[in-house]
Symmetry: D2
Subunit: 352 residues, 4 copies
């Protein structure tokens, strides 16, 4: 068993903390017993305390004193040992290199370092990658899959919210060859915080409330990282169907997966075994029994992902469903989980 | 062209008017220029006026005077020429036979007469059908498919809310052999009114708000009528995948369909043509262009179903999406549309 | 009894139709049997049909053909007999004068002509009034109070949403001297559409959902017109307390009024009589009985305002409550009610 | 300064844990570093683990093993040192006496021991009090007011949710004679969880969503404890106006208070001083500055109450507003705050 560090704190920074992901990250770090938040940057809020900008965090002592700054990478690296980037994609990449050069470790919550192949990045994000030489170094921050690599990483690329909700249910099945890769269909429903804190008409209350709608059909950017990781698990190139929908909740992603089982996968015991072996000991994966289905309200505010599955004897398909909080297990909670691994703390500390 | 009747009113009754479907039906009939609502029954509300029970209908003159009764079928048939049954399945069947015998025409909004095969009914509903001899007479109340039969019918079985959202998008494709029947996957999201006005914990505000969840996986009762009608369209037995989900809106169903096109169906022009030929002249089907996706907020309160489709060149699949109001096009509006046809009125009167 | 015109249509225009109020107005006019919508202007949407911009209105034939334009007042007046202005305050005033000069009648939904005193306007709106000479001509468009003047008016200033919810319950009590003017406290709760279709962070779904908050404390602009009209009713200058709150619904205003009755007003029969005499015959005022309280869901989508009242024997106060749809009775429905009066149609036509 | 105990845990029980308050309490206790939850009772859920019944608590180790029981008071007292009662009023009283007799300390979240005068209890709750002799012993569990008494109490009566939202803003003003007692008007908006987990039509999603409504006008049960505590603060009998409203959020109470200041209270500095002196050091009272108003979303999930105030120079009134989470500061969080005091722990432990 690994020794778990408990006695000392790690000095951390959050860069670009003004969105929903940044706010959630700040709250998780403020209450984390082993994190000392020393820098938070935001051009928009520079000069104001964390507590003024994020009233929900105002009760933490640090929030009353620490002010947002507009610090440079060099200044940030001088203060913090580990830096979280909560920046838009395309911007995070500009901070990562100087921070790494200055000796900081980096946990990036954007999409900038998730895709290993710069060509794929360009296809899905529409511009050249800003630091392709760093891609090989980056570790995909899905602890249930890359735990050991995350421990040693100096640059972690946290998965997107949709990818997490798809990868954790599907990877065990692909690894065990229990499903046919071309059959994978992922139907995902997301709360509106997934769109970020952006002043756009589409995300006004009146436009989202009493509304249910698909978007990004048929090609969403997250497909690039989803297919990359599913291909690794399958040992072959995987192309999936993925349709995101916007539903009127603040938080939560519910993904329903339609899968064609292989002959082996038609055996319920094999499916059960694949999930149990992968996740029985995972602190943040909750495998549901055969009487229970996932519900986002059971995971919102926590780092847990719920997973359930059903064979349909009428069609022969396997239906797998997951629920997570897009801002926690789908973003900031997972980032803190990676931080715990990187620093040698107990993996779940600060997250339960 | 058919002559359209306009001058005279038809006396109608609503039996079991106390649920959400019944309330919507009452409102549609109260504002209908050719319907005269003469009987509304409800054990629970007997003796109270429509307006007292349904404040939203209180401004209609009839709502101020007409009281709910607990009338028998014979009494109802003595007053009304056409009777709407808004009763639970298994109960509607008890009213239909005596009403028909007494000479009334019947529009049933329950599931009791939708399935032609009493064996299938028993499989999905768990009890013997109460009047199997009436099944042959019943016409499935989907005007876009059975318009002429509805005109002549004495017993119309209005489709369920989910079935309407699936059948209208899929039938044209099956008829033209543009999709492979075994590939059909329907992922549906429904507002909470679909569960009815039932005092159950699962449908409390706090249990539904900020919650997204699947249910009835993998075998929902509506499959019986969906597969029956798809099989008719395909000319072969069709078995589909269908997963309903509950989302926190009052009204609306959004269905996303995943379909494998046949060779012919890979041609976008063929898909477009199939939809245009079927629905270009339909008053309540809105085919969206290639820049627009369905959104329940655009159809709630109306009898319209929106349909859009996209080919996915990456996977070869065809994605078809629909949006409707579960209480209008999915129930009471469709019942009034049938009523208009049965009585020779313009099909859209009272519905726009 | 007045003769009611029914046979001919009036050509109408809507200027600035792109907000929530404009959209609601367009829908009401499209379904109105005596209105012919001939012009709709919107800089933002010029060249697109009404149906493309407002999918909820797309089923009306006119919505399929009529396109938004950027027409000048002269062009508008050449087409339309009566023009609705759904523009921001300060902009509406620029259109009113040339339209009136060109012979059109004008129904203004902005605040520009509600306040009779240009000095008061400047105090509350922060700039000089753009056409103070027109103020004397403008009739405050509250049909229950100014019905006869509205019939003859060439310029109608429709009340704000909050004012309607306060004036209709309070005016009868002030007129009959049943309450003490200085005691009036109005606590109002509004749905988010009241803030308009503005891309501002404060009105994002995530900022409004699961949030309840006061705003504009203690001095809201609507106080200017509220106090003006209450003063008329009281025959003396009235200053009131008014606190608006934002609650997470799309539509609806619920106002709770705290009032100190005069000696006469302590008699429940006097209160009852004041309301009955003022409103028993009003098509859009629903006086509730002593077992029922207002609920916005009972009026949303309709032009009705619900009013209830209770004496509190413990405190001696009179509590009066009202509920309305801020976009209908609080804006566009009331505008159509005024239109009906101005054109000699039945007052409720197109609104039930 | 008081010594703060940290080293040892207190064994606690929760009786009647199946409602929303009970669930929140269980979660707070499971994560509390000094509480060891040893008994949880629920007739309905007896035999099932906490985690099965409350999925949101399922990640806590104790939730995986501890099962609900139907234990008697004697059995509970044998296991636990301190017992929380999360029972309906009228039932809690039956458990309190035997538990106290058996030596347990009791924190009651019902209304049973809040009102000191059994006659007042009967007036407001409609039946005789079940244990009037215990009323003198009970301490009203509002730590900001009764901190020292709570420390020594064997029976604490936690305040209701509405009372907390009213008492904390008003008491400092009454104590300093800055407002006139007869002027107090409290307009409160509550989320639906305040109605409890009851299968009643009124609290269905469809009945609450897109609905805003007052209820309990003019005499709500909570008035009994509110007026009792305000009278203590004022040194004279206080009767207030109070109107609760239901708004469609899960959690949160927003109270807007309308107050007439005394001559002293017209001085903004005196108001500011009264609040600062009472609450500047309170861990759970957040006094807002003059640019910020309370918003329930800033306190939901926390034990914080936000308070802001404004003088209205036009009317002379003082407007005070508060926001809290009805299930935390309004119920279970406050109960844990009392527990911390009773056991000598730091008051905020487990609550930040």
């Amino acid at each position: 068993m690994r020794a778990v560090k408990t006695g000392e704190k790690t000095r951390v920074a959050v860069v670009g903390a003004s969105g929903y992901t940044g706010e959630e990250l700040v709250r998780l770090l403020l209450r984390h017993p082993h994190a000392e938040l020393v820098v938070a940057t935001s051009r928009q809020f520079a000069g104001r305390t964390l507590g003024e900008v994020f009233p929900r965090a105002a009760s933490y002592p640090t929030a009353k004193t620490l002010k947002f700054t507009d610090a440079s990478p060099a200044q940030i690296a001088a203060e913090a040992q580990l830096v979280f980037l909560a920046l838009p994609h395309g911007v995070a990449v500009e901070f990562a290199a100087p921070l790494l050069d200055a000796g900081a470790r980096v946990v990036d919550l954007s999409a900038d370092f998730r895709v290993k192949d710069a060509t794929v990045y360009r296809e899905f994000y529409g511009h050249e990658h800003g630091a392709p030489d760093l891609l090989a170094d980056a570790v995909y921050g899905l602890p249930e899959v890359y735990r050991d690599k995350i421990r040693e990483a100096r640059l972690v690329a946290c998965p997107g919210c949709y990818p997490t909700s798809i990868l954790l249910p599907v990877i065990p099945l692909l690894r065990e060859k229990l499903i046919k890769p071309p059959s994978i269909i992922a139907n995902s429903l997301s709360g509106v915080s997934g769109a970020g804190r952006k002043a756009e008409l589409d995300y006004l209350f009146v436009e989202c409330n009493e509304s249910v709608r698909p978007y990004g059909v048929p090609k969403h950017r997250h497909l690039s990282e989803i297919e990359q990781e599913l291909s690794v698990a399958a040992g072959t190139t995987v192309t999936i169907q993925f349709t995101p929908h916007l539903v009127p909740v603040n938080r939560g992603i519910l993904t329903t997966l339609y899968l064609a089982p292989t002959e082996a996968g038609q055996d319920p015991k094999r499916i059960e075994a694949a999930f149990r072996e992968s996740y029985a000991d995972e602190p943040f994966v909750r495998l549901l029994d055969d009487k229970t289905l996932p519900d986002t309200k059971n995971v919102v505010g926590s780092n847990v992902i719920e997973i359930a599955w059903r064979h349909d004897p009428r069609t022969g398909r396997l239906i797998v469903m997951s629920a997570e909080d897009n801002l926690v297990k789908g973003a900031s909670g997972q980032a803190v989980q990676c931080f715990n691994l990187m620093c040698g703390y107990e993996e779940s500390v600060g997250l339960i």
